[in-house]
Subunit: 266 residues, 4 copies
């Protein structure tokens, strides 16, 4: 442990460039600067600097490093948003978490990593292309044991989940089902790029019986730090998406057959 | 489980107001609107709405809910920053994490929650007042089993930690010790309010042998969502702190007796 | 000139506190700290520091200083937005500018100041209370000669204005009239707090024959500058309003009796 | 007036692309889409749409349109910053304004436009290359009558200016001279990209006798407006520069031979 071995993923760093490479016997990796002979780094501790024409750094990749190199068909979730989601959804080891909209499996992976060793993410997508790529991705991150991929056929289990995250373009269509699938009081989050979606979701959450916590937008700006010349970075991402968070409360329609209605006193 | 019981913390919500209350026999809690008889909610499922003059919602608090009500002598870390730190520090169940600057124990708690059931946060502070309050706080969040409080006497263990977070006003004084206390390639984060601190830290990280990943600032803006009238909130927090992230690499001074130097090939 | 005289407005400054006071014979002004005898500062150059228990600074107010102290019934425009509007509307001495929505006369004043000595702002409001207050305000700023206040009766003059700014809650109702009142190619700006308004305006601008330049949001964050401790301010305004800018192009309905249609070749 | 004529600058627009072209007899202009025969648009009103394969819009350029197409050797000032500077410097027709750091003449032009017909910008640069280009630029904007270009030889006139803007990398070296060149109480602004510069400037302003109003940073984010799909733009500029504003007060060194010292009562 702590030593680069065959089969490992290694993050090779040169200045601001990063490459995520699987170490295999006899493998050579070519950057724009030189050729790296991977056999030569096996046995070295992670964090070592090795010269192949220029000095490369060989780091043990974090989950973020691996996710940022995921194969993707769509925009993946940014760390600035993923971190906030983990906090707001109260992700804790042992939880069962619902995800609708697997995408490339980026958020799936962040959540899976945070609920092991006994929890599970149940993630749904209707697009099998996404599921195929996401499965490959999470395997690379060694997280497949805590993720169950399902094809969405219109049904969700009842009162099973401790938390949920929904990354769909029309989540208001599923708010009833999501409500039913959550354990009482559980948090749920939604990712939505446009304002119109926020309004539609807000309306359906209120009608169904969710307590709406907040809708936020998160910005991240990098600083260029240099002695006597520190300043903010000239470029930044202007917008990824809005995030809405809510919690399951009582259903508005009190005649509905809910998981709560037997225990409710008047 | 899922039912409000004596001894539980419950989050009582009325519109945008929230109160975190421990449910105890015979206890009555007075808001600005009415008196809540806590005995009457025992046995109800979390998420229930109960009328005590007005309708109150009784939610199961998330870790964030509990932390936001921590006793504090200083500013506690915001969720926008805490979430990003969890991602960047690669916090994973089972890890041993170093924290310098316990403060009120807010970040300590977020980290502890994310590394259970087998990991541990070792948190140092030189101010015993902080430690006393932090201990009380984390007990409230039921996280004391994964946190070890230590008084900082100038020493840190060697090569023990998988990750570290440093919230001190002069972290550059400790960069050598932090370097030694981390396992090779481990990530470390720093919270710093001013630009001058960023520059001093940057210099000491470079001199010691850290790879500097990034320095960022995170903004969060709430949206006021209402059908046909959605707009951003008129107020926002302008600045909490800058966050610098780095990873342990080889020590610059190759004569130093490091945990790496025996295994390094040339 | 350059010397404090009876009848002048003077900006009195103590640390971060500012008061805008008219200098009158025998007048005394009381701050939370002491009493200022205004007779004693008459004849001093602007910029003087005079001790009345504590040192006060006596500045010649800028237009912004005066506007920020305007009487107001609603939120006045912020300098961050006003400055951008001046640039985008191409405000130049000599122009005739239309304003719909006088409000407290803040933007009216910024524009009037920038088009003198020969230009004019024609400003409309339907609420006479606003007009009364705005008239008082602009008189204080000595700008009344370049402003004409009108009550809006549903009509605007034809092809008269070089530029226009519209601060109404339902500007899409007036887009036809605004189009007709502008000289060909003239810029127009709109201030709108909500996203729904942006969409409605956008639609009506496109239908009428405006070229839409951009919709923007402007943020301003103050820095706390102090040797070795510089950092961004902890508080900032999250949102004032969105600004949409467009230019008069050809009318979509080519049968309309426009100011252009005689000269247009095919 | 209002009709496209030979010798005019015209802004040709196709969707989000813009070209600034001088209309000359026989001139043809080629875009990536087609060839525009400029003779054919002469005599048309500004704002006309003319088909040359695709529909182009022919707008009368605003000052901003012209400035954004200035030749430049360095980054020019952005409209978001320029507008705020106009407000903070109290630029008013008739003023005499000092500029140090002509650059490409962008801010020079915004200021010149706002102080005509009787005012003047006196702008200094030490680099003659900049001055040459700036002269060409302001001629294009027809603003040369209100701008005087000077080579900076270390001297500034005394007590002459109503306002000043300084865009130099080491403005603290000139704060004494700037102080002397301003009329009492006049505002001055500084553009500085880094935090270290802010601190050095702040110190020298305090030592010399300026009242420091504020240091700010301005952000602009565009909105993508579309019915039912409105959202913020995915990209934004992260940082252009900080702006510091101050006003001339009494000199700290009361023995100095200042423009104030004869009139000051004690």
């Amino acid at each position: 442990m702590g030593v680069i071995s065959y089969g490992d993923l290694v993050l090779i760093v040169y200045e601001k460039r990063k490459w995520l490479i699987k170490v295999e016997s006899g493998k050579k990796f070519q950057t724009h600067l030189s050729i790296i002979d991977l056999d030569r780094v096996v046995g070295l501790p992670y964090g070592s600097k090795v010269n192949f024409g220029v000095d490369y750094l060989f780091l043990k990749p974090t989950l973020e490093d691996i996710i940022m190199k995921y194969k993707r068909l769509t925009q993946i979730i940014y760390p600035k948003d993923a971190g906030y989601i983990l906090v707001k959804l109260n992700i804790t080891p042992g939880m069962e978490v619902l995800e609708m909209g697997t995408g490339s499996g980026a958020l799936t992976s962040y959540i899976a990593n945070s609920l092991r060793p006994t929890g599970k993410v149940i993630t749904y997508d209707i697009n099998e292309k996404f599921t195929t790529i996401a499965k490959e991705n999470v395997k690379r991150a060694l997280l497949e044991s805590w993720i169950e991929f399902r094809n969405f056929d219109g049904n969700l289990p009842k009162a099973e989940f401790d938390s949920a995250f929904i990354d769909l373009s029309d989540p208001w269509l599923y708010v009833e089902k999501i409500w039913s699938s959550l354990k009482p009081s559980s948090p749920v989050g939604f990712l939505l790029p446009t304002v119109d979606q926020l309004e539609k979701l807000d309306k359906s959450l209120k009608e169904t019986g969710f307590w709406i916590d907040e809708t936020v937008e998160i910005f991240l700006r990098r600083m260029v730090v240099a002695e006597g010349r520190t300043r903010p970075s000239g470029l930044m991402v202007g917008h990824t998406a809005y995030l809405t968070f809510a919690r399951k409360s009582e259903h508005k329609n009190t005649n509905i057959d809910t998981v709560m209605n037997n225990t409710h006193v008047t």
